[in-house]
Subunit: 85 residues, 2 copies
């Protein structure tokens, strides 16, 4: 479980679509799809329901997102103090 995976996940939630999130992250749709799939494989359940219109969070996915956001918040705090890269 990497920070990048959590950031990708959050982007997908915010865009409601892998395709749109991939654009905002400047990576390809398949790369993002693989990254999300890898997270789901790690944790053993679906974070998203897939559909024609894009993706929506599952109930468990919503809970997981809370944890992900707290991790990313702390890293953002670190990076805003010390600069990313």
């Amino acid at each position: 479980m990497t920070l990048q995976q959590l950031r990708y996940l959050i982007a997908v939630v915010e865009k409601g679509s892998m395709t749109e999130a991939a654009k905002s992250l400047f990576i390809s749709q398949p790369s993002l799809s693989n990254a999300i799939k890898e997270v789901e494989r790690n944790i053993g359940f679906r974070i998203f329901n897939r559909g024609r219109a894009g993706v929506t969070l599952t109930a468990k996915g919503m809970e997981f997102l809370g944890y992900a956001r707290r991790v990313v918040q702390q890293m953002d705090a670190l990076e805003s103090k010390y600069g990313d890269s």
Copy 2:
């Protein structure tokens, strides 16, 4: 800046030695040395003073450690809930 780098950093602080920390992390001393050097390169200052006896935190390193610990704490919370891997 990866979570793994922050975990490596914390291990070095706790052992007071790269060699000992590397053992506890089951990686080689040079790999750990490179990982720490990479973090220092990213942030632009020394986290550790190196010496015959091992390493000690610099003042700035001590402050940075606080941020690192908060990130890792949140990830530990996530992983204890969802299992690592």
